[in-house]
Symmetry: C2
Amino acid sequence: MDVAAFVEANKGAFFADLKEWLAIPSISGDPARADDVRRSAEWLANYLRGLGFPTVEVWETGGLPSVFAEWPAADPEAPSVVVYGHHDVQPVEPLEEWDTDPFVATEKGDRLYGRGTSDDKGQVFFHTLGVRAAMAAAGTDAPPVTIKLLVEGEEESGSAHFPDLLREHRDRLACDAVIISDTTMWAADVPSMCTGMRGMAEAELSLYGPDTDLHSGSFGGAVPNPLHALVSMLAALHDDDGRVTLPGFYDGVIPLTDRERELFAKLPFDEEQWLRTAGNSGAAYGEKGYSTLERIWARPTAEINGMWGGHIGPGGKTIVPREAHAKVSFRLVAGQEPERVHEAFRAWVAEHTPEGVRAEVTIPGGGVRACFSPIDSPGVLAGRRAMERAFGTEVLFTREGGSGPEADLADILQAPLVFVAVGLNDDRIHAPNEKVEMPLLLKGAEAAAYLWEELATALKADAR
Amino acid sequence: MDVAAFVEANKGAFFADLKEWLAIPSISGDPARADDVRRSAEWLANYLRGLGFPTVEVWETGGLPSVFAEWPAADPEAPSVVVYGHHDVQPVEPLEEWDTDPFVATEKGDRLYGRGTSDDKGQVFFHTLGVRAAMAAAGTDAPPVTIKLLVEGEEESGSAHFPDLLREHRDRLACDAVIISDTTMWAADVPSMCTGMRGMAEAELSLYGPDTDLHSGSFGGAVPNPLHALVSMLAALHDDDGRVTLPGFYDGVIPLTDRERELFAKLPFDEEQWLRTAGNSGAAYGEKGYSTLERIWARPTAEINGMWGGHIGPGGKTIVPREAHAKVSFRLVAGQEPERVHEAFRAWVAEHTPEGVRAEVTIPGGGVRACFSPIDSPGVLAGRRAMERAFGTEVLFTREGGSGPEADLADILQAPLVFVAVGLNDDRIHAPNEKVEMPLLLKGAEAAAYLWEELATALKADAR
């Protein structure tokens, strides 16, 4: 029985089991649901034991538990692969906007509605079918690579304990690649793989002038106004081409290859439609020389997220204000280090602060490194072959503009990321009426089944 | 008996009477004190009747009353002069910081402490002694000009009803000059006259981008950010020389004459000391080519008074915000019209708003015109001669950076302003322990006495 036939033969049980898991309201952001998240972990652990995973453990953290399951390859020299997903889900409010109970997974045509169907229980679950299909098709009782499933329980509430968990279990999680199944494809008929996620650096800038608000009649026009200093400085943070002016900001940035740009350009992108999803933004605008998709996926940015100072209540108050503030964040791409961006920002502020104004820069955290897998890397090529075998068509590439715990996985486990996922952007994750396309979950299971033999070959060849 | 001797001979009664008036807590900003403000008006009206003013009336407004008193010149062809002051006072909080009861005027050496001693009852009161001294010295029972005292009751709470009062009584207030006795001299040993006050135009600018805050990972760097638009626009509101870039902003501005700059430069100005009063501002900064005093007195400005948008609470929120706002005000000088500045700002915003951003400009009111009396105008020259006769030394010139009801007096009565006042900047008006220098009040009375004959000559000559 080949992979496709196995998936087809087992799909009834697959969806029945998935619905049982989806019924557990594992909302990690709601303290009242902590027991449900634990129940979800136990349910998954039991299910994986039932499938035959030789090792299944619930890993406690300072918060809510992750599930770890390992199925070693028959060949002790075979590569190891971590598969990442999460079993916690988003809150469901506003409940009245759901057409069905969010925790009673409901089929309508090809769609399965319910919280977690796409993000991320459904996508974790296709691996359980995939690994069985792979072994059934090969007639073996072990996969061609050692599979280490790691299913987090706090992704939707910020993954606060995940980096520590990775560091604690670094040895047991040692691997040659990390498969991420928590993203989307371009469209149901345009299968694609994510190859990178932007990182982040954040800073808060405060400027201080007089030690009290001054009457602008008595002093206006003769002393520095911190708001003037703020607008002058922040206006100079971009040049006329929309490029960030921090010295060294672009040093080390891995440029888009011609091949990547060519493949991005193959995606059927409707900019007018995209602008509508962008809050009806009035125009596409950004760094010169790049398309919208290139800008949000592959180019670093500086963004003012908030700004305040002086009189912000109703009515007028004609003052020279004592202080001005801005929150700034930088989206980073591969090759940039958050710490270096923080330092560059501090230096830039020191250099650009006008006389008579005092500046303070606060860095709220260490930032997040971007993650990136070149499209010609062995893992990505193997993933793409697996996806193309499942979908029977060319698989294109995307990236994501923001990032979750993926950068930690890559950094702490020191392994390349390969994104294999079948969610869609219209799955309404984090919103009422979340759904998944059931045929895509089955394609995901197929792709996952092919993935192990493709990776076994690619990573072994790579290691040689 | 000459003027100086008359003043000297009557100073005891003068201060005794003044103290009686000062005992009335005529705080116009405190609704609970409305009756006291009315009592203050009645007290003054009775006092002026007692002095012999042929006409004394309490003029009701939509709020608190003004006092009007007229003493016609003997010569029906003589010029008429309005004398402006106010009988209401500032609140006295924090009471615990007063060394004496604010409403028990208390002498300490040459100083008289109490609310209203300098601002403005004391300065109104020196005119009562001055007019009697003038007539006593001339041996007449009428002044050489028709004197029209107008003593407002709402100056400290915004003069809301004053323009209407002026318009209502425009005929009876018809005059050839308006004497303002509600300002300060440079120093006790550097007598000076104010010759202008800056006006004002205000605007609020709102910029709108996406119709909701956007995730900066998904959209950052590819759609316009209203905060970026705001900083770019407002940074461009000044050029590198600190000049305002609104087209036509400086059209019609009456330039400082060499003589004015020369006289300003004679004032003993300690910039370090001034910066300390400017909230310990770190540097003098403003339009190139002008001194600090010139900048705050005689040059128009644009000032950002407040600015806000995006996430301004604690912590980070990596968004492209939907909107950005700024409150901007312009200090105006003679020759500028608030309406034209409003229009210029609207046009400038329309021209500078980037694509994809929508701008709204709100103009909260009609603004305030600057007031200005050239130093070589007949009224100012007459006032200066009167001051120089009283003080026995050269009188210099200042201006004020902000403005009160003076612009309305000049505009509605269509008469030049002449500032004759003897307050000092260290009188702590609006603060605890307000005081006045008693010898300066007596010099004020002397100057007021000389003023009428100086004005009679100057204005008659001017009319010819």
